[in-house]
């Protein structure tokens, strides 16, 4: 982006931007919100098209080939599926704007109800795991970077790289299965599945956070190495500040920005891995409902839950962007300017 030579149009655009009022940060914020809204609309429309147009008759698919045609017809009318597509689309959008995520094609139950019942469990699992990842990965990455600065302690570096690449290569659901086998079945130390009390969180959170922690720790180490080599860290050392202050006050914010950028995109994949981990641990979250809906071909639920997932991811990405812009004004402003 920055490497491109300014074309005449870009120069004009830049001068226009400068003449416009308002702080650059606010403009950046508005731009990001706008982008998220557009992405959400694209997802809503794509989900609608895929499920209503390309997926064949969703009601027939949901109720099965043996269902009585009159029942199918009644359900179609009840759901408004007999009307023209464009009307259905408008209806659907109107409903979404009023917070109506649709209904199950099989039971007719409202998706809102399902989400209300299951979203908290999903958010708890993802939130705790993300906190664990940040709390483990960033300090570990920084610590290993401090140890291996300037090509010192090659052994530590090789061990760290080996262990983290191995852990990162174990998919979350497999890790979940292994954890169940070891801690729940063999040792009887922790509950196998479900959500019941603090102990039941340990294995799902571990399954969801260990692999991501390993990858983030590697990224964090590389970022920390680059940051520790930066001039301002030497400046801080020239002021003879305590080591903790140099690392945490001077290096950490600068290394966080890059780590968070990648960590933020990772949050998206984490939500997806959450679906698998929920399935493995029979966690009463949206993921298990989502997989059930897919296997039972209840596309009404699939559509509604997919939108909730998409919204969560977009909001998270937006939040990451905003946090980053606060942490590192220089780069964000340069990016928009």
């Amino acid at each position: 982006m920055t490497a491109l030579a300014p074309t005449p149009t870009a120069v004009v655009a830049a001068s226009e931007r400068r003449s416009r009022r308002g702080s650059p940060w606010l403009r950046f914020l508005v731009g990001r919100v706008w982008r998220a809204l557009v992405a959400m609309w694209v997802i809503v429309t794509a989900a609608f098209i895929v499920l209503r147009v390309a997926g064949g008759d969703p009601v027939r698919a949901a109720l099965g080939v043996t269902a009585d045609p009159s029942v199918v017809q009644a359900r179609r009318e009840q759901l408004g599926l007999d009307r023209p597509l464009i009307v259905q689309y408008a209806d659907y959008l109107w409903g979404l704007l009023h917070g109506d995520l649709g209904v199950s094609l099989i039971t007719g139950r409202s998706v809102n109800e399902i989400v209300a019942g299951r979203l908290p469990a999903t958010l708890e699992l993802a939130g705790i795991s993300f906190a664990v990842i940040l709390l483990v990965a960033v300090p570990v990455g920084l610590f290993v970077a401090i140890l291996t600065q300037g090509g010192r302690r090659r052994g530590v570096e090789v061990t760290f790289t080996g262990i983290t690449s191995f852990i990162a290569a174990v998919p979350e659901y497999l890790l979940g299965v292994l954890l169940i086998i070891v801690f729940a079945i063999a040792l009887h130390a922790l509950p196998v599945a479900g959500q019941s009390g603090p102990a039941s969180y340990v294995l799902p959170v571990a399954a969801l956070s260990i692999a991501s922690s390993a990858s983030i720790a590697r990224i964090a180490r590389i970022e920390a190495l680059a940051t520790l080599g930066d001039d301002y860290v030497r400046t801080a050392r020239s002021k003879r500040l305590p080591a903790a202050m140099i690392y945490f006050k001077h290096a950490l914010p600068n290394m966080l920005t890059a780590t968070l950028t990648i960590g933020g995109t990772m949050l998206g994949t984490m939500v997806a891995s959450g679906v698998l981990v929920e399935q493995v641990f029979n966690w009463p979250g949206m993921g298990t409902a989502f997989v059930q809906a897919i296997t039972s071909k209840d596309y009404g639920i699939v559509q509604g839950l997919a939108l909730v997932y998409a919204a969560i991811i977009l909001v998270v990405n937006l939040l990451v962007d905003v946090v980053l812009s606060i942490l590192d004004r220089r780069t964000t402003l340069m990016e928009t300017a």
Binding site: E172, D230, T235, S238, A272, Y309
Partner: protein, 636 residues
């Protein structure tokens, strides 16, 4: 050289991963041929058996051998991953490279599309595809390919932008190289490496993603089976025989690891091709030390450095950047250090200030500051001993100030930490210090971030920062190099005033001998990591008073009012020597018109000279005898 680098990677990691991949490929080819039928043959007498000598990993709920099924499943698992990655890579690369042909508007539009696409969660996208096409192996492959497209498109975009802007391509175009040849000979080789590395790593990720689709039951459908399918079947009977999940689990991890590590080894290999890695500490041996014993110096000075050596790990041994440097700085004295880039001047001073870069090996017979010898102390103790007594002004003010912290806060840290001042008091001191270096509205400026300052203001803020602890020595590392000529003078005057006000001594590093001549009382000239001359600054104006041929050449290269504008600027022919080798003689001998055999074989020691300073030269050129003294010292 090039031939050697093109040889197969010999790093252990590369060898291991290559072997792992070979195993996978062989199993994928031969296992279905040898055990394909056994793997699907149900045996009602052997349902859910635990591991035994007959069934090493036990049997599944239809009595099929799990080990054999795992081996046979290799082919489908690998083929699916390769197909998905190939499909995704081709589609993504085309999509990403296409806009380059279509013009800037299309480029921006495509970039937006790709950014939105990238924001889509992988599993969601895959599931929508599954719903669209119905579950099955081919659907899973298409679904995964769809999720891989945007990252490859982004890669192609970055790469094509980089290549399209490259000068070699412009040159090829100018020379009339055909479009096809441009692509095959100029574009392809430059994007092939990162693409290959990315594809390899993506196969590993794709393998895991496909197995998770199958695990959820929306990928491969029975009677077909891949590792993910086997895992989900094994998980269903995890209470009965947990071992059923182990076989396919190990296979998935092994394959995923093989591809991602191979990609990494490949990337490391391609990265290191440009220059090999420095030797490890063990193979380097002990860091070089000065051969000369510590000299007995006269009355103690503020700073006394003796036998300072700084070395960095190199490809073939220690790179001796600073070799046996000794000098003194009296209290309140302004000393300049001059030399070409790479002469070791900055490294010398940073080492004295205990700020040598990580990995540098610093040795010295003595670094005495204010009567304390810090050379034998550990880094931490030495830093503690220096405390706020040494202030440092760095070269590039944009990078030397922390971009994430407010300028005022960065100044206030010093009294906060070292003076025990309250937050408010430290802030007030910071504002005062900014005001002293003529920063307008210091109260508001202190609240700003470094990028909101101009270059000259930042440099002055750095000077103010170096003064915060009332140091007795300022070390300024090329304080004006990054500034406009018009601002340079102002910053130097500021630096001199601050030193004079606080009675601090200063060492100013520069490659600009004219700047130093104006500012300092004494000039230390460095060449190839050694001090070659230490001389009164006033002598710079009379180049016949300088003793070392190198100093003379430096002084002569300065244009002044008497310089003949029609003649080319004076330059010094030749290149500085290779610092990774031990130099037997004078480092300047190869470029020196007065060099004799002695210069090439015996290094001249740095000795007191008749002009009042010190010279390391067998043939000083000033023609002074030892009895003659220079003119009376002129104060700055």
């Amino acid at each position: 050289m090039i031939r050697r680098r093109m040889a197969l990677p010999t790093q252990p990691m590369a060898v291991i991963t290559t072997v792992m991949l070979l195993i996978l490929v062989l199993v994928a080819i031969f296992a279905p041929m040898w055990w394909g039928e056994q793997a699907v043959a149900a045996d009602p007498d052997a349902i859910g058996l635990p591991p035994s000598s007959e069934h090493l990993l036990g049997t599944d709920k239809l009595g099929r051998d799990i080990l054999l099924r795992t081996l046979v499943a290799t082919r489908l698992s690998l083929v699916m991953a390769l197909a998905a990655t190939g499909l995704g890579a081709v589609a993504g690369l085309v999509l990403g490279a296409l806009p380059a042909v279509l013009g800037p508007r299309a480029q921006r539009w495509f970039a937006d599309v790709i950014a939105t696409w990238l924001a889509f969660p992988v599993l969601l996208l895959a599931m929508l595809t599954v719903i669209l096409l119905g579950p099955g192996a081919i659907t899973a492959v298409v679904a995964l390919a769809v999720t891989m497209v945007p990252s490859f498109a982004r890669l192609a975009q970055t790469l094509s932008a980089r290549v399209a802007g490259a000068e070699y391509l412009a040159a090829a175009r100018m020379l009339g190289v055909s479009r096809g040849r441009q692509f095959t000979h100029y574009v392809l080789p430059n994007i092939a490496e990162p693409v290959i590395v990315n594809v390899t790593m993506s196969v590993g990720g794709g393998l895991l993603a496909l197995s998770s689709l199958s695990f959820l039951g929306i990928g491969v459908q029975p009677p077909q089976f891949d590792w993910g399918r086997m895992l989900s079947e094994g998980f269903a009977q995890v209470y009965v025989s947990p071992i059923a999940a182990i076989g396919p689990g190990v296979a998935v991890v092994f394959a995923g690891l093989a591809f991602s590590l191979f990609g990494e080894a490949l990337a490391a290999f391609l990265r290191n091709r440009g220059g090999s890695r420095a030797l490890s500490r063990r193979r380097l041996g002990p860091a070089p030390r000065a051969a000369t014993p510590a000299q007995q110096s006269a009355p103690p000075a503020l700073l006394e450095v003796e036998g300072l050596c700084v070395s960095f790990p190199g490809e073939s041994g220690w790179q001796r950047i600073v070799r046996d440097v000794s000098f003194r700085v009296e209290a309140g004295e302004l000393v300049g250090v001059v030399g070409e880039s790479g002469s070791g001047k900055s490294v010398t001073l940073m080492s004295v200030a205990q700020l040598a870069p990580a990995g540098a090996a610093v040795t010295a017979s003595r670094i005495s500051f204010d009567g304390t010898d810090i050379a034998p102390l550990s880094d931490r103790q030495a830093s503690k001993a220096l405390g706020t007594k040494v202030g440092v002004v760095f070269q590039d003010s944009l990078t030397a100030l922390n971009p994430a912290l407010r300028v005022g806060g960065q100044l206030a840290e010093v009294p906060r930490v070292h003076g025990g001042s309250s937050r408010a008091d430290a802030h007030r001191q910071a504002v005062e210090a900014l005001g002293r270096v003529d920063i307008p509205n210091p109260e508001q400026r202190a609240q700003q971030f470094p990028h909101e300052f101009s270059g000259g203001m930042r440099q002055r803020a750095l000077i103010a920062m170096s003064q915060m602890g009332s140091p007795s020595l300022i070390i300024a590392d090329e304080p004006t190099t990054a500034l406009d000529v018009t601002v340079q003078r102002r910053v130097l005057v500021m630096l001199r005033k601050e030193c004079a006000d606080n009675g601090a001594a200063a060492i100013v590093v520069s490659h600009d001998i004219a700047v130093l001549g104006e500012l300092c009382r004494r000039i230390i000239v460095m060449y190839a990591g050694r001090i070659v001359e230490d001389v009164d600054a006033t002598l710079l104006a009379r180049s016949d008073a300088l003793a070392h041929p190198y100093t003379r050449a430096l002084a002569a290269s300065l244009p002044d009012l008497d310089t003949d504008r029609s003649a080319p600027l004076a330059t010094i022919p030749g290149e500085p020597p290779d610092l990774s080798q031990e130099l037997p003689g004078c480092a300047f001998a190869a470029r020196c018109p007065f060099a004799t055999d002695r210069c090439r074989t015996e290094a001249p020691p740095l000795r007191a000279h008749a002009h009042g300073g010190r010279v390391a030269c067998w043939h000083p050129q000033d023609g002074m005898s030892r009895e003659e003294r220079p003119r009376a010292e002129v104060t700055v």
